[in-house]
Amino acid sequence: MAIIEQPLAIGTGRAPEVRSPLGVFARPTAKGGWRSWVTTVDHKKIGIMYGAAGLVFFLVGGIEALLIRIQLARPDGSLLSAETYNQIYTMHGVTMIFLVAMPLGAAFSNYFIPLQVGARDVAFPRLNAFSFWCFLVGGLFLSSSWIFGGGADGGWFAYAPNTGVAYSPGHGMDFYALGLQITGIASLVGAINLITTVLNMRTKGMSLMRMPVLTWMLLVTQFLLLFAIPVITVALFLLTFDRRFGANFFRVEAGADPLLWQHLFWIFGHPEVYVLVLPAFGIVSEIIPTFSRKPIFGYSFMVGSGIAIGFMGWGVWAHHMFVSGIGPLSVTAFSLSTMFIAVPTGVKILNWLATMWGGRLRFEVPMLYAIAVPAMFTIGGLSGVTHSVSPADTQQTDTYYIVAHFHYVVFGGIIMAFYGGFYFWWPKIFGYKLDSKLGKVNFWLQLIGMNMTFGPMHILGLQGMSRRIDHYSPGFGFEFWNLIVSIGAFIIALSVASFLVNVVLSTVRYKRGLIPPAGPDPWDARSLEWMTASPVPEHNFDEEIEVRGLDEFWHRKYGYDKDHKVVRIATGEEVAHKGDNKNVHLPSPSYWPLVVALGLPLIGYGLIFNLLLTIPGAILLLGGVYGWVMEPPDDPNKAHGHDDHDDPSPGLALASVGAEEVGNG
């Protein structure tokens, strides 16, 4: 035990007063039902909610994708008007990146960072809940644009001046700017919270270089978010001020340079790519060693390459802008840096292969996904390297070749890894395995579907088909491959359906007792999250774990005999905690994170429709922050021993919540 913080809400320093904070809410106590979810500060419940919300938005974004593919399946498609088509592809991109890939990454971060470093919870449990609610209300706010006159229509990177009122007169871009602002707060607060958790909440002996690769990659991700989010915050504020208050930031006739938006967006946007992909790399790095029965090959190189990607990701943004006229010197410099960033990624792929080399591979469903990721990501990575050659890129920009490239990265790399993660950790989170046969159906449909969908796009792009066109005429040679692409998209849809069926069927079977509980360690895994009961009890571990090396849990299960051969010395069940320690002090649940978060979309609607609406929004926000600060981090009525956690001081709460958003109001 190093330091036990004093609670930093401004307490009295005396015996606790027994009262409800501000007299508004009694401290929530529900252990079950919806109330326990709404008020939870448990990182595991928050992680599950992130995952569930991400999957729901995945279906929304998927339906948008299918609409695009129906439109383009045949020449002269007429399902959607050009105007609607613009909104559909924009919202498809925005939804998939900001409301699917990011929250799914956050789901894994929230659930597994505290477990993998052996902590009881994150550093600031209430701020963690606030992050989630902020993300959710931001996502719903963004999606509500469909009800209020149509979605954003400027493309997911929203180049100025197309996004100005003159060229995008609807409210879609306002929803885009304000919605992403709100989800940005969620990411920023989450990043601060999780970095503090990793740096400060590790269990005894868990030095940085003993942390699992997943935790390392998630840590780098949080740093990228910490420094990238404020840049998009600036860009989105400028856009909002332009659109709502008549500022001149992107009005060319007033002397503005629309390239400013492109730069600000991609200074955020390229680190953002690694925000999406590093969690996926981390997941693969956990699955492959487990199913190869070997430690990860080159652990320190794995960590180092992740950090290198984190740094280099800041120096390549202008490769998105080779055709924007940034000058030959800039193009050359960013070409070179882009070529170099392929190196650390290559290191990772090599290390995964070397981990499998000579291992005793078990081709369970998570492993299938984990093998598919390096394969698919390499295709996406290689087409990415072709983009670093700026003359080639000039030809490829804004064609389907680009679309093919980033879908191989995002779908083939990231979404596939998340699926692998779902199958891998499902037994840990819910206590039972998903069905393996259906899982394999899911996997093969996914793999075939995605290659049919995104593979031919390379050809279409090189044939000259532009991205974002709402229809094409017959006779350009686009018909055949577009049809194949659309069929592929529906195979992916089938695969997603098979995943959902698997979830429902497995759950029902488990509840009826037809499949056995998975036990703490169903895969013979290596890291600390497997060293406690499944599903993980609310307090995580019964007692503090002392870590002596990398893969601590594995080393407690295996030892060496006198011939220096590896032998099993204990089963996972024997080593794992039973999860029955009832005496662990837990942070108390709270309503306030939700109350504060609810103020934000109200302010958003106010800025769009009627400034009067910002008043109740601001009241909720400020009142919520005050209620939060005045609420002791722990329920004074509850008997407890030590407090392992501090909650944010009013300074942090106000600054992190307030500074970003009060400026908005």
């Binding site: 190093a2 400028l238 503090e544 300074g651």
Partner: protein, 209 residues
Amino acid sequence: MADVAVATHAPAEHAGDDGHGHGASTGISNTKLAMWLFLGSECLLFGGLISTYLLYKNRIAEGSIGPKDVFDIPFTSASSFVLLMSSLTMVLALSAIQRGDERANRVWLLTTAVLGSIFIGGQIYEFTGFYREGLGYTTNIFGSAFYTLTGFHGVHVSIGIIMLMSLFVRSYRGHLHQAQAETVEIIGLYWHFVDVVWIVIFTIVYLIP
């Protein structure tokens, strides 16, 4: 398991002597680390706004109202000085609470908040003057960039004043003691950061034409 409800918990001396709980593995405060991370992140926010201003300040049409026409350096120097001195009073407030002098803490907190308010008052006065001279938010690209940058800073100062006043009220009601010195310290960090940002803005925006 003791059934005693303890509001304020163990100090740092126990470092390493038992395996209890999951404290800070680095031995530093979670909240302070979080505030520093937030301030690191804020650097990129203000950096973006300052860059936008630098890029746009001279892109106004011939004859349109520009920085040279409106800036009143002596006045802004005075208000910058006020904000700078509020950093001194802030650190004195912290020093007071750390040695348990709650009265001095209150005095310095209030002084800091008042100095901050004078700065904000000066900014409002300055903005009104600029507006009278014909520089509105939408007038030209310099106006948009200038008001946005300084406005963001002003909002940060205002949030700081609200936090300082909250501390003052808590202290006045007898709820802010030596044990909560870290709360003062963390709000102080925020306050100093806002001051530091102004040091940069004052030089880059006002003094370098």
